[in-house]
Symmetry: C2
C-alpha cells in the first residue's frame, strides 16, 4: 500500500506539497503538481479514507435511513440517491430501520451515533419523537424524503393534491360512486392517510359521499380489499381511487377475476406510475421516486457547501397519465373519453 509519503519521495517533494498537489488546495507550481500526480498514478496511490476523515473531519459519505429497501418506492428513491451521490464522489451507507424491529433501535442508538457520514437522508422514516430527537442530536445535515415537515428539509409528493386530482379525474368522467382503497390499516404508512383525506375533501366538495376501503399498500392487499368491495353488488362503485399503483393493479386484477371489465364497468386510478402501470394500462398520477432521491441527495450536497442554507420544503406535483383503466361510467358517453389513451400534462 503506497502512502502519500511514498508518493512524496518518488516525486522529490515533501508530504505537505504532495498533499496539496493531490487535493488541489494551496499553492503548488504546475510542474511539481504534474510530477506528484504522475508519481501517484505510477504507484497506484489511493488516499486512506480513514486518515482523510480523521484529518479533515469529512467522510465523503452519506447515510441513508429507510424502513424498507425491498419496496418499489424505497428502492427507486435509493437508486436515485445512489446515482446522484456517485456523480459527486460520495459513498452511501445504508441503514435499515424497519419499524418495530430490534434492529431499528440499534440503528438509532449505535449506528447513527457513530456518525460515519457527513449528512443523512431519511426516507419515509416516520420517526417517533424520540427518534427524531436523536436524528437532530447527531448534528449533521438532514434531508427527508416523504417526511413530516418542520425542522428538516423535506422532499415529497404533494399527496393531498395528487389524491384530489385522481378523484377529480373520475369526477370529470362523470363518476359519482367512487371508493378509495388503501390506508386505514395497522402499521400502514402515514401518506395513505393523507391521500385519503385528499380524496374525502374532494368528494365533500363535490357533495358526494365518500367510501373508504382499508387495505395494505401492496398488490395482494389491494386485490383482497377489492375482491371484498367489488364482490358486494350493493357496495360496488363505478370508480376506484387507489392509494398507490400496486393497490390499483390489485383492484384491476380483482375486477377481471370477477368478470368486471375495466374500464367499461369499473374505472381505476392509481398514484405512482409504477413500473407495471403501463402493462396494466393504468391511469395514474405519476410521482417519480427516483427523482425525489436525486433531489434529496443534491439538496444535501448543497448543504455541505453552504451549511447555513435555509431549510427547504419541496412539494412535488404529480403528473396525470391517462391510460386505459378509466372511462366514463356505463351509460354516460363523455367528451373526455375521446382522449383517454394519450398522455396529458397537468
Amino acid at each position: 500500500m503506497a502512502g502519500i509519503a511514498d508518493v512524496a519521495r518518488a516525486a522529490g517533494v515533501s508530504k505537505a506539497t504532495a498533499s496539496r498537489a493531490l487535493t488541489g488546495s494551496g499553492y503548488v507550481s504546475e510542474p511539481t503538481k504534474a510530477r506528484v500526480q504522475e508519481a501517484a498514478a505510477k504507484l497506484g496511490y489511493v488516499a486512506s479514507t480513514a486518515a482523510v476523515s480523521l484529518a479533515t473531519g469529512k467522510t465523503k459519505n452519506v447515510g441513508v435511513v429507510m424502513p424498507y429497501v425491498n419496496r418499489w418506492f424505497f428502492a427507486e428513491v435509493l437508486d436515485g440517491i445512489q446515482d446522484a451521490l456517485l456523480r459527486h464522489g460520495y459513498d452511501l451507507t445504508l441503514y435499515d430501520a424497519r419499524p418495530g424491529t430490534e434492529g431499528r433501535v440499534r440503528v438509532f442508538d449505535e449506528f447513527l451515533a457513530r456518525k460515519r457520514f457527513d449528512g443523512l437522508i431519511a426516507v419515509g422514516l416516520e420517526p417517533s419523537d424520540n427518534e427524531l430527537d436523536r436524528l437532530i442530536a447527531i448534528g449533521r445535515p438532514l434531508v427527508s424524503v416523504v417526511g413530516v415537515s418542520g425542522t428538516t428539509s423535506v422532499i415529497a409528493l404533494d399527496d393531498v393534491n395528487a389524491a384530489r386530482r385522481a378523484t377529480e379525474h373520475l369526477l370529470d368522467l362523470g363518476h359519482t360512486n367512487i371508493a378509495f382503497v388503501g390506508g386505514g390499516v395497522e402499521g400502514g404508512a402515514h401518506v395513505d392517510g393523507i391521500r385519503l383525506e385528499g380524496y374525502e375533501a374532494t368528494m365533500a366538495d363535490a357533495g358526494l359521499p365518500a367510501c373508504h376501503v382499508p387495505s395494505p399498500a401492496s398488490l395482494p392487499g389491494g386485490y383482497a380489499a377489492s375482491v371484498d368491495l367489488l364482490g358486494d353488488v350493493r357496495r360496488r362503485p363505478t370508480g376506484i381511487v387507489a392509494t398507490c399503483d400496486e393497490v390499483a393493479i390489485g383492484a384491476i386484477i380483482a375486477a377481471r377475476r370477477l368478470g368486471l371489465p375495466v374500464p367499461s364497468s369499473l374505472s381505476v386510478v392509481g398514484i405512482d406510475n409504477h413500473e407495471y402501470a403501463e402493462m396494466f394500462s393504468l391511469t395514474t398520477l405519476e410521482q417519480s421516486p427516483r427523482e425525489q432521491g436525486v433531489h434529496a441527495a443534491e439538496l444535501l450536497l448543497q448543504r455541505f457547501r453552504d451549511p447555513d442554507a435555509p431549510v427547504v420544503e419541496m412539494r412535488l406535483q404529480a403528473t396525470l397519465i391517462v391510460r386505459n383503466s378509466t372511462a366514463p361510467p356505463a351509460g354516460i358517453p363523455s367528451a373526455a373519453a375521446g382522449v383517454a389513451t394519450t398522455r396529458s400534462v397537468p
Copy 2:
C-alpha cells in the same frame, strides 16, 4: 464531542487504560473498567470510526456491489445482508454497478479502490475479466452471490437443478409440449441462460423437443413474450417453464387475457417464490434470496475471523411449492393432480 481523552480524565485513568477498558482488550481491573464505562456513558462517548480505522486497519464496514437495487431479487438479498451485518455491528456501504453505465466504471476505478470496507459482497455482478481482476486486486475477502465460481466464495441457487425440477414437475403431470420463457435477450442475466440449459437437458432426457421463447426477466417482458407465444395456436404449448416468477406471472396474465384458463388449458411454473406468487397461485421453485444474503454476510464475517478459511461454494437447492397454476394437460386426469394445492418438499 467527547473524546477518549475526556473519558480518561473523567475516570481518572490514562487514555491507554480507557481504551483497553472500552475495547475489552488487555489487562484492566474490574473496578476501573466499570469506572471508565460509566464515565463514557455519562459523557455519551462514541469512538470516532475514522480514528479507530486508522489505528486498527479495520473499518467495521462491508461493501456490497450490485447492478440493481430496485429488482426483487437484489432488494431481497440486500435486505438479508443488511440484517445479518446489523446483528454483528457492521455497517454496509452500497455500490451500484449497473452494467454499461459510466457509474459502474467509476465504482470499480475509484470507489472500490478506496477500500472503505473490510470485505466485499458482490451480488449478481457478472464482472468482466478486467473487473474481476480489480476486485481481487483490492485484497479484501470477497463473497459472491450468484456469481461465477472459481477464485471466490460463492452462494447461489443450483439453477440447473431448479430448472430441471420445474420441467420435471410438468413432465410428471403428463405435459409433453413445454416451452421455456426467458433468457436469450440482449443484456439479460447469465442465470437465465443456465436455467435454459437445465430445461433443455431435461427435455432432451425425456426425448422431447425443446422450445425456447426469449424474454426479458420482468413481468412486462414475460407478458409480451407469452402473448406472442400463446397467440399463435400452432406454437402454443400446454406448459410453460418460466425463468423467474415475474415472467411466470406475466405468462399467467397473458393467458387470462387470451382466454386460456390456468391451469386447465395452460400450466405455468416459475422459479423464485416471489412475493406475488401466492396471489397468482403460482407453482414455483422457491429460492430465498434473503437467506442467500444472510449466508453471504455470515460467510464474510467468518472469513474476517479466520482469513485462511477455505473458499466455499454453496449451491442451494430450490424447494418446489405446488399451487394452482399447474395441472395435467387437458384430457389427462393424473393422480398427481390430487395434491396440487399443498406444499411439498423435495
